[in-house]
């Protein structure tokens, strides 16, 4: 637990619709408590497919409650943009981490876990654990 502050979640996708929709899905599956700060950062600033570092930075700032921010990303430039911003040092709130997790399943696990008041490490672990869920 971290002083009642909730970990923020940012969902970075190449598509604005995918990011927003996965955010909605994760919130819905989290049940009653939708107080988890969650922000989609999808597509380019111009509305196309791709990644916007401005949208990512703004989303992270908007969900930062002082308990850390877990960022989930889908493909190529989404992952690389978040990594490059983290390497920059001052572009994302302190305690922001790129979580190595499948995008949809990881987002659901992260939001459900964050809703319990879990700390960033627990949210990250829950999201990463989603890789272990086999579908065969």
């Amino acid at each position: 637990m971290s002083d009642g502050k909730l970990v923020g979640i940012v969902l970075v996708s190449h598509s604005a619709e995918v990011a927003a929709s996965v955010a909605g899905l994760a919130k819905g599956l989290a049940g009653g408590d939708v107080s988890v700060p969650i922000a989609p950062a999808g597509g380019t600033a111009a509305g196309g497919f791709g990644t916007s570092s401005e949208l990512v930075s703004a989303a992270a700032a908007s969900v930062d409650r002082g308990a850390g921010v877990a960022v989930l990303a889908d493909l190529g430039s989404a992952v690389l943009t978040v990594k490059a911003l983290l390497a920059e040092g001052d572009e994302l709130p302190d305690g922001t981490r790129l979580v190595d997790a499948p995008f949809v399943e990881g987002a659901v696990a992260a939001v459900v876990t964050a809703a319990t008041g879990a700390d960033l490490a627990a949210v990250e672990a829950a999201a990463a654990e989603a890789y272990a869920y086999r579908k065969e």
């Binding site: 380019t44 111009a46 196309g48 497919f49 791709g50 990644t51 916007s52 570092s53 401005e54 493909l75 190529g76 430039s77 690389l80 943009t81 990594k83 490059a84 911003l85 390497a87 920059e88």
Partner: protein
């Protein structure tokens, strides 16, 4: 010695080269990518040119870190964070000296290429920009012309390779027989060094 004006000319030459070759880069990106490499880099280097005019950085390091930031924020595709990291890390390695030697540039670019490899996880032979950049950095201690030739050869050598990174890697064997667009644009950026030097 190379001053801030040299690095400004390098970035301007990159921008001009990308404008000239944008259609070709996008065409290369069509069979094995998502056909946006030329337009993405055009947008990125236009932002670089505008920022350099607006902010007029005064050291080589400041020129490259500013340019790198613009690429990270304006490109929209994977080439943005990759080339942005290349320039930013190279710029940081140059520090705040008013002038740098060609040897210092070669050393700094090596740090930049290492950062690109760390970010994207690509090694030589994976059919990426690394295949042009690594030989170019090796040859840079000889001359800008040698670096250009090494980058060109590196880019051409990606044609028979099987892509192991990026979107093209999803294509497996079907990625063979196409020159990598990222290695091709890397060769343009290296070639622009010689243009900046010759002006």
């Amino acid at each position: 010695m190379l001053d801030a004006d040299f690095f400004r000319r390098w970035m301007t030459a990159c921008a001009a080269s990308v404008e000239r070759e944008a259609d070709r880069l996008t065409a290369l990106d069509s069979p094995i990518g998502d056909a946006d490499h030329g337009t993405n880099l055009q947008r990125g280097f236009r932002a670089v040119t505008a920022a350099l005019e607006r902010e007029a950085p005064t050291t080589p390091g400041a020129v490259l870190t500013l340019a790198g930031r613009q690429l990270i924020s304006s490109v929209g595709g994977a080439s943005g964070p990759l080339y942005g990291t290349l320039l930013r890390r190279t710029g940081k390695a140059l520090g705040d000296a008013a002038e740098v030697s060609e040897e210092q540039l070669a050393e700094a670019l090596r740090a930049g290429v290492d950062a690109v490899r760390a970010l994207g996880g690509a090694a030589p032979g994976d059919k990426t920009m690394v295949d042009a950049l690594v030989p170019a950095v090796e040859a840079l201690s000889t001359s800008f012309a040698a670096a250009k030739d090494a980058a060109d050869e590196g880019a051409i050598a990606t044609t028979p390779m099987l892509a192991r990174k990026g979107r093209a890697s999803y294509l497996g064997e079907r990625s063979v027989g196409h020159q990598d667009p990222g290695a091709t644009s890397s060769a343009l950026i290296v070639a622009a060094l010689e243009e900046a030097d010759g002006e």
